[in-house]
Amino acid sequence: MNDLHDSELSRIYKEGAWPEPSRQIDEAILSASRRAARARHPLAWRWAPPLALAATVVLTFTLVLRVYEEGPEERIASPALPAAPSVLGAEKRAAPAAKEEKTAAPLRAASTPQSAPVPAPAAPPLALKKQAPEAAHADQVPSRLERVREAAPPLQGRQSETQIQPLSAPIHSSEPPSPVTPQPAAAASAPVVSGGAANEAATAGIVIRRSDSPERTPQTWLDDIRKLKAQGRTEEAGRELAEFRKRYPDYGLPDDLR
């Protein structure tokens, strides 16, 4: 026992009656507690308005960004088409610098075409945003190029540096994303060189449209020509090819269509 705790007193106190609240009071309090627990969580209630606001802001921002990105893509679709043939060459030249170029400053790439004596088609600034996903694959570019070189030595030998050089500009200036662009099934079955190069071209500034669309992609067009040839309609295929050359003079034709 000390002066602040007396066990004898405590014992005697606890030997006394132990009145307790009535059952009705217990029931009333426990019912109220259950009702409160079932009711909206106070913290959730407190955080609901700011969370709703944050969600609205994020959704709005996402929507605006999406609209903002999709708009320019439509505008650049046609101007970018002439740039498509340069992709293979552009890859050859740009690949060593691709990592630093694409990851460091996509905007600088547009404004300072390192290896582009031919002025690049004026690409809307937003198109450059599309390079971001491409940059993620920048380290894949050399290996892809190696694959192309191995698979297509004639093409590599035929295209000189001077031919390639001017064509590399568009890849920097108007290269839209490839990951989001659906690839036609025919492209996948195309030969490695032509298909790969054309696919690259298709991803280098062309918005893929449906084949029945008046604006066919070069790849789709070439696939159509192949189909014509396969069907024995060589004359028609020749006409289409001539038209294609006229439309895309710089486009590197795949071997099977030369």
């Binding site: 106190y13 132990w18 307790e20 009535s22 009333a28 259950r34 409160a36 079932r38 407190r46």
Partner: protein
């Protein structure tokens, strides 16, 4: 307080929507809190009203509760505040004002304890409770917080909003008076 989760954990769970946690908490504290209030106001109806009110405040505070202090200190602080309101409403405020004076501290228990408190109790306990009922409110509260709430001197000080020294002084006087009351009973026997 026995085994199982701490009071603070139960309250936190209840704040998260666990009604069972509140039931465990209630089961632990219903008796002590009720007796604390009943022995302060000496009126069953008033004690039940205060008791219910304290628990409703605990329920309402479930989302704001932060385990900075012991749950029991926090809960008895609510009970203390409600008691103060009750005293003011029932005209006992003057007693509260003078309880710290030397005169008040030297006062011996006076007045008869309520009849319901005296019924069917052992004699010593009856005497003790009678002496307790006659203590100044603050001293009785300190004693009850120690006995029913199992609070330390520091926690009593926190619950009643006074300094540790004041709480210690109240408790010391309460114990001294209760001991004196029991001693006088033994002498009578």
């Amino acid at each position: 307080m026995g085994g199982g989760p701490a009071d603070e954990e139960l309250m936190r769970r209840y704040g998260g929507g666990d009604a069972g946690a509140f039931e465990a908490l209630y089961d632990r504290h219903r008796g002590p809190l009720y007796r604390f209030l009943l022995r302060q106001v000496s009126d069953r109806a008033a004690a039940e009203e205060l008791f219910q009110d304290v628990w409703m405040r605990v329920i309402d505070a479930r989302g704001r509760y932060e385990a900075r202090a012991q749950f029991s200190s926090w809960m008895y602080a609510i009970a203390h505040n409600r008691l103060m309101d009750f005293y003011r409403a029932s005209g006992k405020a003057k007693r509260l004002g003078r309880e710290e004076s030397e005169a008040a501290l030297d006062e011996m228990p006076a007045g008869d304890p309520p009849a319901e408190v005296l019924l069917d109790r052992k004699r010593s306990a009856e005497r003790l409770l009678a002496a307790l009922a006659g203590l100044p409110d603050a001293q009785r509260e300190a004693f009850l917080l120690q006995q029913e709430g199992e609070l330390t001197v520091e926690e009593i000080a926190e619950a009643t909003g006074v300094s540790r020294e004041t709480a210690k002084s109240r408790l010391r006087y309460a114990l001294a008076k209760l001991r004196a009351s029991l001693a006088s009973e033994r002498e009578e026997l």
